[in-house]
Symmetry: C3
Amino acid sequence: MFDQCMKKFLVVAGGGIALLALLAVPAAAQVPSSTATSVQAPPGKVKLPAARSVLDQVRRAGVLRVGVVEQIPWTFTNRSGQLVGFEVDVARALASDLGVRLALVRASSNGIADDVAGGHADIGAAGLWYSPRRALVVNYTRPYSEATMRLFASRAKAAGRTDVAAYRLADVTLGVLKGSPGAAFAPKAFPLARISTFERYADLADAVETGSIDAGISMSPRPEFLVHVAGDRIFLPVGNAIATRSESFIVPRGDADILAYLDSWIRYRDETGWLKSRRDYWFGSFAWADQLDAK
Amino acid sequence: MFDQCMKKFLVVAGGGIALLALLAVPAAAQVPSSTATSVQAPPGKVKLPAARSVLDQVRRAGVLRVGVVEQIPWTFTNRSGQLVGFEVDVARALASDLGVRLALVRASSNGIADDVAGGHADIGAAGLWYSPRRALVVNYTRPYSEATMRLFASRAKAAGRTDVAAYRLADVTLGVLKGSPGAAFAPKAFPLARISTFERYADLADAVETGSIDAGISMSPRPEFLVHVAGDRIFLPVGNAIATRSESFIVPRGDADILAYLDSWIRYRDETGWLKSRRDYWFGSFAWADQLDAK
Amino acid sequence: MFDQCMKKFLVVAGGGIALLALLAVPAAAQVPSSTATSVQAPPGKVKLPAARSVLDQVRRAGVLRVGVVEQIPWTFTNRSGQLVGFEVDVARALASDLGVRLALVRASSNGIADDVAGGHADIGAAGLWYSPRRALVVNYTRPYSEATMRLFASRAKAAGRTDVAAYRLADVTLGVLKGSPGAAFAPKAFPLARISTFERYADLADAVETGSIDAGISMSPRPEFLVHVAGDRIFLPVGNAIATRSESFIVPRGDADILAYLDSWIRYRDETGWLKSRRDYWFGSFAWADQLDAK
C-alpha cells in the first residue's frame, strides 16, 4: 500500500521521538550524552556561573513558599479552615510540577512585594496587577490570568441601557467602593456621570439593588455574584468588561531563571487548557460558594 | 436581601485587597511582614546576589538617560528648540514611573547600540527594529510599538488599483528612497516591477504626485503625510501595511532586571491604552505638524 | 507643491535614519559616540558585570553547537547522508545571523536537556515542548513553532463525520501509537471512545486505511503524509488541530542574554515571514519527500 519512502518516514518517525516531552520522565532518567555529528564541535564546555536562583533554593528546601493575599475567590479560608481559591490551585499545581511541597505565606497587598524581595516568600501569587512601585522591588512574570472590571446596574433604573455610552451621561449616578480600582477608574472613564462613593460594599450593592443609583462599578466576580443572588433586581448591562488588567506572579529581582521558569510554565498550563479551566471554575461559576464561611 | 454567604463574600472582599495595585502607594509604605500559614515555611531566606541592574543605577542617580535618534515624528526638535515626539513621550512616562528625571541623549542610528552597551545611555528608545548586528551588542525588550510600510500612489496613474497584486506587474514602476527600508524591501516583494531609486524623498514624492511613476513605498507616517497635504493627487491604494516590524527598547546585556522591568511596564502602558493614545497622536494624526520648524 | 513644513519633514526624515536597522551593517562599523542634549547626563557609566553568556562563548569559538534530535521532518539524514529538516534550516539561519559556523550535535529526546545544561551543545532545537522535568534543567525561549495533533480517518468508515464530536461517541474506535503524545491525549479527550494502541505506526496507518478502526490520532505532518500517499482511503475529517503545543529552543540556565537574544531573533524571523515559509515547506508540503532514504 505505502511506498518505500513513506515506510521510511513511518518507521524512522515511529517512536515519536521528539514528542516524548509530554510523557512523564522520572527525574533520575539520564541517558548517555549525545554524540557529535561529522561537523565536530570543539571540546571546551561553556563555563557559566553556577545557577543561583530561587528555583534551586526551592528544590533544595523541598518546599515552595507562595505569598498569597486573602481575597475571595483568589485565596480565602473555607468553612473547614483551609485556604482555597484560584491562587491556591495555581500554587499547588506549580509546587507539584516542581516536585516539592507547598507552603502558603499570608501577605498583605501592600506588603507582598517586600515579602518576596526579602525572601519571606519565594514568589507571590495574588491576582497582582502592575504597579510602578512594586515593579521597582520585584519582577513580574508574563500574565497567567486577568482581572476584569464590570458595570452592574439596577433593573428598575437602567433596564434597556445596554451600551456603555448610556452610562457616560450627566444624569447618571455610578457607585464605587472607596479606595477600590473602580473608584480610581470611574472619574476618568465616566467624566460626566455623578460618582457616589461607598464605605462598604454591601451598601453599594444595596444602592444598586434598590435603584437609588443607576449602576455600580467593581471587579469580577463580585458583579456576577450579585446577579447570581439578586438577578431579579441587578443585571450586567454591558456584555464586555469595561477594563482589563493582566495578573502576574512576582519574583525576586536578579533572578533570570525563576522568570524563565514561570514564563514557560504559564505557557504550558495555558496551552493544555488547565489555567482556563481553573479560571472558569473560580470566576465563571459559583460552584465554590458553599465553601464560604457563613459566620 | 442578601444571604449570609454573600454577606461574607462582600465583607471580606470589601476592601478590594488584591486590587489596590492600581492606587498610588507611597514609596515608604511598608507594612509589617506577612505571617506564615499553618504550613510553616523554613526560616532560611533565599540569598541572591545583590541586584546590579541599570535600574538600580538609575534610581541612585535620580536620572534616566534615554538614547534617542532624531527622526520625525519619533524624536525631533520643534519650533521652540525642544525635543518632542513619540519617543520623548514614552521616555518621559517611563522616567515618571521610575520616580526620576529624564535626560535625553542624542544618538545616531548606527551608534545607539554601542552608546547603550558602553553606558553613555541607560536604554535606547528610537523606533528600533531588530538588527542581527545590534542584537549582539544589546538586548531588545518586547515591542512597544510597530513600524508599518505603505504604498502611496498617483491618482492620475493608479486610480482604481487598490489591491497590492496590481503593483506586482511588469509594467509598474515603484519609487523608493535610496538606502531606505523600502529600497531593501521592494525588489523582494515586487520582483516584476521596475524599481526607481531616488536620492531625495522630496523627489520621490514629486514623481508620485505628478504621475511619472505609479507608486512609492515608504514607512508611515510619511505616506499619510503626503496624502494629508496633497490628497487630490496622492492616495493610499492598499488599506493595510505591506510590511510591519515591531519596535523595542534596547538595554545593556547581562541585566535581566531592566528587561523584566520594561517588559512589564510596556504591558501595563499597553493595557491602560496609553501607548495606543500616543501612537494615535503621533502616527495617526498631524495635530503636531505645527511644531515642525518651517526653516 | 509641498509646503515648507512638509519640506522640513521630508528633508529631515529623508534618510530614513531610524529605519536603517533593516540594512546589513558590517560588524566593524562603529560611528563616533552620540552627543548629549542640553539636559546633560551625569558622566558616570553604569558598571555592569562582564556579560558571561553562551552568546559570548559562541562568538569567541566561531561556532554555534545546536543539539538536534532525529525525527522527520524536524531533523533527518537525507539520501546524501546530510542532516536536513526544519530545525536544520532554523539552526543554519541562526548561525548565519550570529556570524559563526554551525555544528549540529545529535542528541536524544531524553538527553538533550542535560546536553545543553552540561555544555555539550550551546542550545537545543528539536521541536521541544514544555516538560516539567526539562524546565528544571534548562530554560525555554518563547516559541518559534508549534506542534499540532490531528485526527486522520477512514473514508470507508468515517465519511461525512467531519465534527470532532462525532469521534467522542462510545461506538468509535480510535488508534494511537504506543508511547506517543496521541496515546496520552486520546483517553482524556475522547473518554467514551475505544482506544486501540499500536506498536508500529505502519500498522496504525494500515488499520485506518483498511477501515478496521474509525480514525487515528497523531502529530503533523504524519496524518497529512498519509493523505498525501493514500488520499483515496484516508482523509482529515476535522479542519483544525485537536491539540496544539508550542515548540521552543532550550538554553542553559543562568544566562539572561541568550534567552533575550533568541526571543528577539524569533520575533524578527517571524515578522519577516521566514519562519512561516520554512514551516510551510516542511509541514505544509512534501516537496522534501524525495530526500528520504528509500532503504
